[in-house]
Amino acid sequence: MSMGRQELAAVVARDIPEGSYVNLGIGIPTLVGNYLPPGDAVILHTENGMLGMGPAPEPDQVDPDLINAGKQPVTERPGAAYFHHADSFAMMRGGHLDVCVLGAFQVSARGDLANWHTGAPDAIPAVGGAMDLAIGAKQVFVMMDLLTRDGTPKIVADCTYPLTGVGCVDRIYTDRAVFDITPDGLVVRETFGTTVDELRELLGLDLKEQR
């Protein structure tokens, strides 16, 4: 039994310690916010200049001056702070955020990340804060399906999509297993309805088991 996205979001949230400053990337990582402990145990950062971001407002409380990185309306928690863009990215690049959670097209066994561009010749490229997030936080978590829709592994020996960052990913949460990227290589931390041998077969990669 593989994990659904909501269940996986809960697994990621469980691994984020109380007191952390966290950035949740656009898309699936946003779901993690639904499973963080209630209250202000974890402080959310948004790249467009805020710490202490709260959930979406009631429809009649929407404020167009108060949005997240996905340009969706959000709210302000008590103790929130606003700052300009250079400070926001200095906070990120300077290693002050504890955790960021990102989506990905591919992650390599060495922790290279590809999540901004398919490389298709007719695609209009857009990078946003992806490259800054990839190299900034103390721990970079990726959350993605292990396989593409056509069954191709997204954890690979070498990324074929254009890179977002080199050797920057610490842990990969997928629907079938959680992997740590260590100096000794990929370590399977947790499996969901599969075995490490099955994962080795599927990915064609050297996998270690967590001791």
């Binding site: 200049g49 863009h85 490229p125 254009p162």
Partner: protein, 236 residues
């Protein structure tokens, strides 16, 4: 100090020539100086280089400036969105030049220009397409890319309040690029919801000191702030 308050957006923008490089504040709609952009379209300057995080949303504001074919080149981090159809069309037709910059590098390059920094080494983008051809250096075991400042002739920013000397305070996440763009441009024009009396802004909470601001124009409370106009148009 003479008052920097101008009677109209048209007066404030009158000196912008063809070919100017203009920074425009805002992240999507938040902090976008819509009234100044509308006046810039009216003013008629063309062949512009625009620096903004995005490349326009929907059909108004920056998107309308692009649609009016006044922009030769845009420097931004995130052009493609669900409602960036104006930019998408121009780009695919080869009618606009794009310089794509990672968002943190964009912010720091703008900051560096205002702070008089000649260049800086950043880890962001190392080993990627966006660092191709750029100088790199290993410092204390980590790889960095050399990036240069982005300066502008003009900055158009939106703030909540100004005093007559151009001290600015912002509102929530509409602050975004405003303070760094104000410092990075030769001439900065700020639109504000309201101008307050000298001394009415607590000096402890001024975000952009007036030294960075040349012209201030009061536009009143932005009507689209309350009408929920952008809801449903939002994109990633």
């Amino acid at each position: 100090m003479k008052s920097k308050v101008r009677e109209s957006v048209a007066t404030a923008l009158s000196e912008i020539p063809d070919g100017a490089t203009i920074m425009i504040g805002g992240f999507g709609r938040a902090g976008q100086p819509v009234e100044l952009i509308d006046a810039l379209i009216e003013q008629g300057a063309s062949d512009l280089t625009i620096v903004n995080n995005n490349a326009g949303n929907g059909e108004t504001g920056l998107a309308a400036l692009l649609a009016a074919r006044r922009v030769r080149k845009i420097v931004c981090s995130f052009p493609r969105q669900s409602d960036s159809q104006v930019f998408d069309g121009l780009y695919r037709a080869g009618l606009i030049e794009l310089e794509l910059v990672p968002q943190g590098n964009l912010a720091e390059r703008i900051r560096a220009a205002g702070a008089g920094i000649g260049a800086f080494y950043t880890p962001t983008g190392y080993g990627t397409l966006l660092a191709e051809g750029k100088e790199t250096r290993e410092i204390d075991g980590r790889q960095y890319v050399l990036e240069y400042p982005i300066r502008a002739d003009f900055a158009l920013v939106s703030a909540l309040h100004a005093d007559p000397w151009g001290n600015l305070v912002y509102r929530k996440t509409a602050r975004n690029f405003g303070p760094i763009m104000a410092a990075a441009a030769t001439t900065t024009i700020a639109q504000v919801d309201s101008v307050v009396e000298l001394g009415a802004l607590d000096p402890e909470v001024v975000v952009t000191p007036g030294i960075y601001v040349d012209h201030v124009v009061e536009v009143g409370e932005r009507p689209w702030l309350r009408d929920g106009a952008f809801i449903g148009e939002a994109a990633s």
